[in-house]
């Protein structure tokens, strides 16, 4: 038994016939070929499947597609406009916040929601917002740094800073060494 569903995904309207038990995750990936939301656990714990529904971050693996009728869904594929990365995406690239990249779409969606609600978060607020997005590769440090950079709030205060100062950009740095990490030849 299927239901007719109308919803907008990344600004594009869709009408589909979906079974009542289909998840938003399955709809996005299998019916709309948008595989940006990732399969990490299908139990709503890891956050890899995070998308925005009317701007609210949700676990698409636990959301029934039929409950999204009439809503605006945003996935990671909807962040860049005309091929131009948005600020968050660019800061993730700059900060080295991407390693295997599997958690990255979920992180970006959660961070997008955070910055929409709180445009100048402290480091602690960023950490809290991302607590439901698991990452096994990066240790989170550069992801946090990227979100703070995207907020324009690179000196957040609000508690003991836990991040060492970011790496100077290429061009600021004398050849053969960097200011931050001590690379020396014994």
């Amino acid at each position: 038994m299927t239901q007719r569903l109308s919803l907008t995904v990344n600004g594009v309207g869709h009408e589909l016939d979906v079974p009542a038990n289909r998840t938003l995750f399955q709809l996005l990936r299998e019916d709309l070929d948008l595989v940006g939301a990732k399969d990490g656990c299908r139990q709503g714990v890891c956050g890899s499947c995070t998308v925005l529904v009317d701007g609210v971050p949700i676990r698409s693996c636990l959301a029934l597609a039929v409950r999204c009728g009439g809503r605006q869904v945003t996935t990671v594929e909807g962040l860049a406009i005309d091929g131009k990365l948005d600020r968050l995406q660019q800061e993730f690239v700059n900060a080295g916040a991407v390693q295997c990249g599997y958690c990255t779409p979920g992180m970006l969606m959660m961070a997008t929601a955070l910055l929409a609600e709180n445009s100048t978060p402290t480091e602690e607020e960023v950490r809290e917002a991302l607590i439901g997005n698991l990452c096994r590769c990066t240790g989170y440090t550069r992801i946090i740094r990227a979100v703070l950079a995207a907020s324009g709030n690179e000196d957040p205060g609000g508690g003991a800073p836990r991040l060492p100062p970011g790496r100077p950009k290429e061009g600021d740095v004398p050849l053969g060494g960097t200011a931050r990490s001590a690379r020396e030849r014994p």
Binding site: V35, D39, G40, E77, C100, G101, Y102, L130, L134, R136
Partner: protein
């Protein structure tokens, strides 16, 4: 041409040593990087697997008729139809269980259907009758005579010559190190201390599970797309198991969402291949669910390590005897290699003249122990760094002084008898760690008297599996732009970018004109494996040789065009010129002029095997050249211990690493940061609870990995001790960051409270118990 970047050349390097942004970052932040779990093919079927609920049982009967009759099911297969065995060190593992099951979760039957839902429903229709057998779960018990045998046929399996098994027992691997005379050493020592250390089951928890898609052609040729670390390992192991020529097996790496060793050997591939042989050419995809990652993938080996160490009263290490027992579960997988590798690093980076190590890899009816970042070294480091601090305390010697006294230098030997002739930066990592952490300055006292603060450190070393081979092709198009072909796999560690940096530097071709694509054994030449922190060194060297081969070809083509002997030519800035002259003929011009409008590509090929590597003697574990390189690190951890709850909070970790020359500092720091956090998880909050062979917590909800709120300040520091044979002096970095954090934290807890914990993970209960034992 110079293979090494001498210190004075560093200033002239354009790409090597620079934080070049990753080439795949844009794909990954836009959701366009395709992982194995995203991969689809037309007509693709979906597989599900029926797994044994019992850890040790005879399979009496398997009835698949109802499953086979289900609408939408295209293939069903059981172990009885698959007379194949696979494995790396030892071929002991069937595609699906045959005769008996050896761990709870072992695959017994598999179904391929037009949808996952139908496959799952069909699995429920398979009836299996088991006869439970007595199981053995504790590896120490498994080693005793009279224990139930996990593999009665251990003697009959094909095993690689480097390893020693004990037929008629559960010991699948026994590695020995015999150096000097350990009993004499104990007699010469002023004190002898014996301590036991244990580590727990840890799960890799890559965010992307194991996944593969297999397709078998009518003539039997096998193609596998896999989220894998080692396409050629997979090729060889499948070809050997199936009795196929290597040319008929093709392995293609998809994007990989994390590996950490879990994806180094076959796991889902035998299942997808077995099903694909029965679907008339239709491809079959199988991805583990998250709970299958816990019970049906591979784990980090729990270890039981007994360290008996003899010292002089001034702290000089004289003798060390180690008995290490690695719990490898129902099948060998990488177990024998892990247990062996742990032995080779077992003493730590110290001078010890008398060493006796027995490292055992033992079968039990538990989940399989496999390759896990560090490959046995985190377990050994937990023991040697904890004990070193314990001994220092017992002797009244400062732990830093004790390390400085015993750490190796150039010219010293390892416990495997190798004289270290290049790149030994360990003492510098220690010195720098002390400096950067402000070691001498005590931590500010906490306001709350029920909380104690302390600081601890740990040093480590690790070798890389040697010898191994890597080959690369540097292909130049007629417009002078370049494609790199190699079978190293980008797991997130950043190798793709590093190889582009190396070739850009060598050829003088702008890095944006150098691209690299996925490993595909039909096109990309041999690489042993993306593991063991070996890729930058081995594949980087292969890339340099391939680039040099390309250069030689360009010079050979240019010589007649320029009308000069080839000896007068050099290659620089992407072109060929007479030595000392300005006029440059670009690669593009050379190719166009030589080959004309028809065009051509040039392919430089290179391959690299570390020079002089010698396999160790099986009785003594000695070899004059055991490892292509040794990696070193020192971590300092600042902790806070709640004396009422036992909870440990890590305030800061300073992680100082010697990985030789650093090709990409952003990537290197990222590896250290990620490794420290993965190590933190294994230290404080991660444990697979396995009771009588059953995993009690097979989910992210019940097995906790660190989140963004759990991460302290991490200060990565890179100390470069260039390696004589490394590309631009580079070694490796991927694994070491995982090892020293655990003992650094245990040493910090001791510093804060006087309580010593010798078993991982360090739970609040263990801390409270240890505090009670010392009367706090």
């Amino acid at each position: 041409m110079n293979d090494r970047a001498a210190p004075d050349l560093a200033a002239h390097l354009r790409y090597v040593g620079k934080p070049v942004p990753r080439g795949d970052a844009i794909d990954k932040v836009t959701g366009s990087w395709i992982y194995g779990t995203d991969f689809v093919l037309p007509g693709m079927l979906h597989a599900k697997v029926l797994r044994s609920p019992y850890p040790h049982a005879r399979i009496v009967s398997v009835d698949v008729e109802r499953a086979r009759a289900t609408t939408g099911v295209r293939a069903v297969v059981t172990g009885a139809e698959l007379p194949y065995l696979y494995g790396s060190a030892i071929r002991d593992e069937p595609f699906l269980a045959r005769g008996k099951v050896r761990y709870a979760g072992e695959p017994v039957a598999a179904v391929a259907a037009v949808s996952e839902e139908i496959a799952r429903a069909a699995i429920d229709l398979i009836d299996v009758e088991y006869e439970e057998l007595p199981g053995v779960f504790d590896p120490l018990e498994a080693m005793r005579p009279g224990s139930p045998l996990v593999h009665e046929n251990l003697a009959a399996y094909e095993m690689e010559g480097a390893f020693t098994r004990c037929p008629g027992t559960n010991i699948v691997g026994h590695t020995k190190i015999r150096r000097g005379d350990v009993e004499q050493g104990f007699r010469e020592a002023d004190f002898v201390f014996e301590d036991v250390f244990t580590t727990q089951y840890v799960q890799h928890c890559s965010m992307e599970a194991h996944v593969s898609i297999a397709q078998v052609a009518a003539d039997g040729a096998v193609t596998v797309w896999s989220s894998c670390q080692s396409p050629y390992n997979f090729l060889r192991d499948l070809a050997k198991a199936l009795g196929l020529p290597y040319s008929m097996v093709r392995v293609i790496a998809t994007g990989v969402g994390g590996g950490f060793g879990a994806k180094m050997y076959l796991r889902t591939e035998p299942l997808t291949v077995a099903l694909a042989m029965r679907t008339g050419g239709k491809p079959v995809k199988y991805a583990h669910t998250r709970d299958e990652e816990f019970i049906g993938a591979v784990t980090k080996h729990p270890a039981h390590l007994t360290f008996k160490t003899g010292v002089k009263r001034d702290g000089t290490l004289v003798a060390r005897k180690i008995t290490a027992i690695f719990n490898t579960g129902g099948y060998g997988d990488a177990g024998p290699q892990v247990a062996r590798n742990s032995a080779f690093s077992g003493t730590g980076p110290y001078r010890i003249p008398h060493v006796w190590i027995d490292s055992y890899c033992v079968y039990t009816n538990n989940p399989i122990g496999g390759a896990f970042r560090g490959f046995g070294v985190p377990q050994a480091t937990w023991a040697h760094e904890s004990q070193l601090d314990m001994i220092a305390h017992r002797l009244g010697i400062d732990p830093i002084e004790m390390r400085m006294k015993n750490l190796v230098d150039l010219g010293d030997s390892t416990c495997t008898g190798e004289v270290l002739y290049t790149s030994v930066g360990v003492k510098d990592t220690l010195r720098r760690a002390i400096e950067v952490s402000g070691y001498g300055v005590p931590l500010p006292a906490p306001a709350n008297p029920k909380v104690a603060r302390g600081r601890g450190l740990a040093t480590m070393h690790k070798l890389t599996n040697t010898p191994t081979n890597s080959a690369a092709i540097v292909k130049m198009h007629q417009d002078g732009t370049v494609n790199l072909l190699c079978s190293s796999v980008e797991l997130g560690q950043g190798v793709n970018t590093v190889f582009r940096q190396i070739v850009a530097e060598r050829l003088g071709v702008p890095i944006e004109h150098i691209r690299i694509a996925a490993a595909d054994t039909h096109y990309t030449p041999y690489d042993q494996s993306t593991s063991g922190s070996r890729s930058v060194f081995h594949m980087g060297n292969a890339m340099l040789r391939a680039a040099d081969d390309l250069v030689r070809q360009l010079c050979e083509l240019a010589a007649p065009l320029l009308g000069v002997p080839i000896e007068t030519l050099e290659f620089r800035d992407g072109g060929v010129a007479r030595i000392g002259s300005d006029g440059l003929m670009s690669a593009r011009e050379i190719i166009e002029r030589r080959f004309g409008a028809r065009g051509n590509t040039l392919q430089g090929a290179g391959s690299f095997t570390p020079p002089g590597a010698t396999p160790p003697d099986k009785e003594t574990g000695q070899s004059p050249k055991m490892s292509a390189f040794w990696m070193y690190a020192t971590h300092v951890a600042d902790v806070e211990v709640d004396l009422e709850t036992g909870k440990v909070r890590v305030l800061k970790v300073v992680a100082v690493h010697d990985a030789g020359t650093i090709i990409n500092p952003d990537g290197a720091e990222g590896q250290i940061e990620g490794g420290v956090v993965q190590g933190l998880g294994a230290t404080l909050c991660e444990e697979m609870l396995v009771r009588e062979g059953i995993v009690a917590n097979p989910s992210f909800a019940e097995y906790k990995i660190p989140t963004s709120m759990d991460v302290p300040e991490i200060v990565p520091v890179l100390v470069e001790a260039p390696h004589a044979e490394g590309p631009y002096g580079a070694k490796g970095l991927a694994e070491p960051a995982l090892a020293p954090t655990a003992p650094a934290i245990a040493n910090a807890i001791f510093n804060a409270t006087g309580a010593r914990i010798t078993s991982l993970p360090i739970t609040p209960e263990k801390v409270l118990q240890a505090l009670r034992q010392i009367g706090k």
